[in-house]
């Protein structure tokens, strides 16, 4: 029954944090757009989670062909209509959520995995390390992202895996920039100096003092980037170098549906709406989070 004795103390210790959290939630809920964003993102995760149980034609996700059902307009049986080989577009859009979530998460985590350590390294070490890392970062940032991604996928060959590799390569420099700037300013803060003066190791300073103070801008950027990464993956899918057609990826679906315009409008419309709603959700949430977590840097992140 130790826990009952510990609980009040734990509460006491965490009082400040709980108050901060409550304040954050309050601030977030005061802005209607952020609330909309939050629910859109929640909806997106929910669909990704329960997707396989709410689709009506599981076999249509990949290569199923029902020639007798092709190009049907939206109806009760097929709420979003069917595509050129009779697959149910609703099922494919729903499952596409999972694919997009996966793409977004992988790109962001790879980008963070490369960008954050490099940024801290550059910012903390300074000197030639900083110069080298930032120079390389600048090179990557000097080309429009989509173009570089196209060049990389063009070299690696079309496909969803290669598109993710390309987008990860395009994405990490943003995190280096962000974290390096933050680390540079944190390094001069009195609390870091104090830690250094009492003999804390570099390792300890980085993990105990610098990294925790970088988390809020990283979270904000990650939330915004999640939407953007999904959008970029769809872009690549659309121009034909990302996910390849039988796969239920939104961009690729639009790319196919485009050939059946203007009469079969539903093929391109619904996957596009899915992208719009998803990206919008992450953007709005990211905006709201920025106002809450990182008010000083308004307008700095993109």
């Amino acid at each position: 029954m130790r826990i009952f004795r510990e609980l009040p103390r734990w509460r006491e210790e965490r009082k400040g944090q709980v108050r901060d959290l409550k304040l954050s939630i309050y601030t977030l809920s005061r802005s209607p757009l952020s609330v909309i964003g939050f629910f859109l993102v929640l909806f997106f995760f929910l669909i990704a989670l329960i997707g396989p149980w709410i689709i009506t034609y599981p076999q249509d996700i990949t290569g199923a062909v029902h020639m007798d059902q092709r190009l049907r307009s939206p109806s009760l049986a097929h709420p979003f209509g069917t595509d050129e080989v009779g697959r149910d577009i609703y099922s494919r859009v729903v499952i596409g959520t999972r694919l997009s979530l996966q793409i977004g998460l992988i790109i962001i985590f790879v980008a963070m995995g490369i960008g954050v350590p490099l940024g801290i390294l550059a910012g903390y070490m300074g000197g030639w390390v900083n110069n080298l890392v930032m120079r390389i970062t600048d090179i990557f940032l000097s080309v429009p992202g989509l173009l570089l991604a196209l060049a990389i996928v063009g070299a690696l060959g079309p496909g969803i895996k290669n598109a993710m590799i390309a987008l990860s390569i395009v994405w990490w420099p943003g995190y280096v920039r962000l974290v390096q700037g933050k680390t540079l300013s944190l390094r001069e803060e009195p609390f870091v100096e104090a830690a250094r003066s009492i003999g804390a190791s570099r390792f300890r300073i980085i993990f105990k003092h610098i990294l925790p103070n970088c988390t809020s801008p990283i979270i904000v950027k990650a939330s915004m980037d999640m939407g953007m990464a999904i959008l970029f993956a769809a872009n690549l899918g659309f121009i034909g170098v990302g996910a390849q057609p039988p796969e239920p990826e939104w961009g690729a679906m639009i790319s196919v549906g485009r050939n059946y315009l203007p009469d079969r409008w539903w093929m391109a419309t619904f996957p596009g709406l899915a992208i719009l709603v998803t990206v919008l959700g992450f953007n709005l949430l990211g905006d709201g989070l920025r106002d809450v977590l990182d008010p000083q840097s308004r307008g700095q992140i993109r």
């Binding site: 600048d138 080309v143 196209l150 060049a151 070299a155 121009i239 990206v279 919008l280 993109r302």
Partner: protein, 324 residues
């Protein structure tokens, strides 16, 4: 800047050559014999070590030689020269549109804060950056071109219309200079939709940042002072407030210009615009890397120049920057 370009060329080069596919085999076609593949490999120097290939490529690059497309055998530089003006015409039109209306909407939105116009514009700014550009293009095509036949589906000119005498290679300007109204009208209706779509995200973010900056400036004391002196609202906004918002707006313009150069790939694909993005996509799909490299380097260079111009622009807008 030179180092950045060099670095860029190394990255693009390395990426294109570590690729798993064998470009020579791709170019030779599926039923080529081993000897034919070997001949192509020799012809394009693909049998030599990477470092030597790179130096050869760089040597060519300095002389304006971007290599040859392995698929069409065309000189990449010639292709780029053909397609580049179309892209620039589109991108310049879009950025001009985005800057003008972005600043205008930003002012309107901040001056009429929380009124219906502000709500509409804010809704548009949040959706503007989230909307997939290619999808917006397709939807507008569907609506305006296919359904109501108001605008053409794509291309730069109707097939029946001859291009104007080429001076600047921008159809809009060339037809104006030569006084060719028919062509101008035709070029104008063709560029309207792609330029609007390409400018959409930029327009949204320029509006947004300009609104935020305007709101801040309009609450400054000097604005209050001018109001007290009886200076008209229009004059205050245009002459005093707006100038103070232009630096962050300029930063955003530079950033968005880069996005536009990337986005042109999508818009050109949707509208079948005969530009450099379309060209790069066509090559990338066939793993024909020489054109893709060329386009990447050219557009990267263009982006760097744009960034330089933005930096110079700071000096114009804020004298303090000049003295530093």
């Amino acid at each position: 800047m030179v180092i950045t370009i060099l670095g860029l060329s190394v990255i693009v080069f390395v990426v294109s050559r570590v690729a798993p596919g064998d470009p020579a085999k791709l170019a030779a076609g599926p039923d080529a014999t081993e000897e034919m593949v070997e001949v192509i490999r020799k012809e394009f120097g693909l049998d030599q070590p990477l470092v030597i290939q790179y130096f050869k490529y760089m040597k060519g690059l300095i002389q304006g030689d971007f290599g040859r497309s392995i698929r069409t055998r065309h000189l990449v530089w010639n292709d780029i020269k053909t397609y580049l003006p179309a892209t620039f015409e589109l991108v310049f039109t879009s950025i001009t549109f985005a800057i003008f209306f972005g600043i205008l909407f930003g002012i309107l939105s901040s001056v009429y804060r929380d009124l219906w116009i502000d709500h509409i514009l804010r809704f548009f700014t949040v959706t503007g950056v989230a909307i997939p550009m290619f999808w917006l293009g397709i939807m507008l095509q569907l609506l305006l071109a296919a359904k109501f036949h108001l605008l053409p589906l794509g291309g730069r000119l109707d097939t029946m219309v001859n291009p104007p005498t080429l001076i600047t290679r921008f159809f809009l300007i060339d037809s104006l200079i030569t006084g060719n109204w028919l062509v101008f009208k035709n070029a104008f209706v063709h560029i309207l939709l792609p330029a609007f779509v390409l400018s959409f995200p930029a327009l949204a973010s320029i509006t947004r940042i300009n609104r935020a900056e305007m709101l801040e400036v309009l609450h400054k004391d000097f604005v209050l002072n001018e109001k007290a002196q009886g200076i008209s609202d229009g004059l205050i906004i245009y002459k005093y407030a707006l100038k103070n918002t232009l630096i962050p707006t300029l930063t955003m313009i530079g950033l968005r210009y880069g996005w536009m150069l990337g986005g042109t790939i999508l818009v050109e694909t949707v509208f079948n615009w005969p530009g450099i993005g379309n060209y790069a996509v066509g090559a990338a799909v066939y793993s024909d890397f020489q054109p893709v490299m060329g386009v990447t380097i050219i557009l990267g260079l263009n982006f760097m120049i744009a960034n330089l111009l933005v930096d110079i622009g700071y000096g114009f807008l804020d004298p303090r920057v000049r003295y530093e």
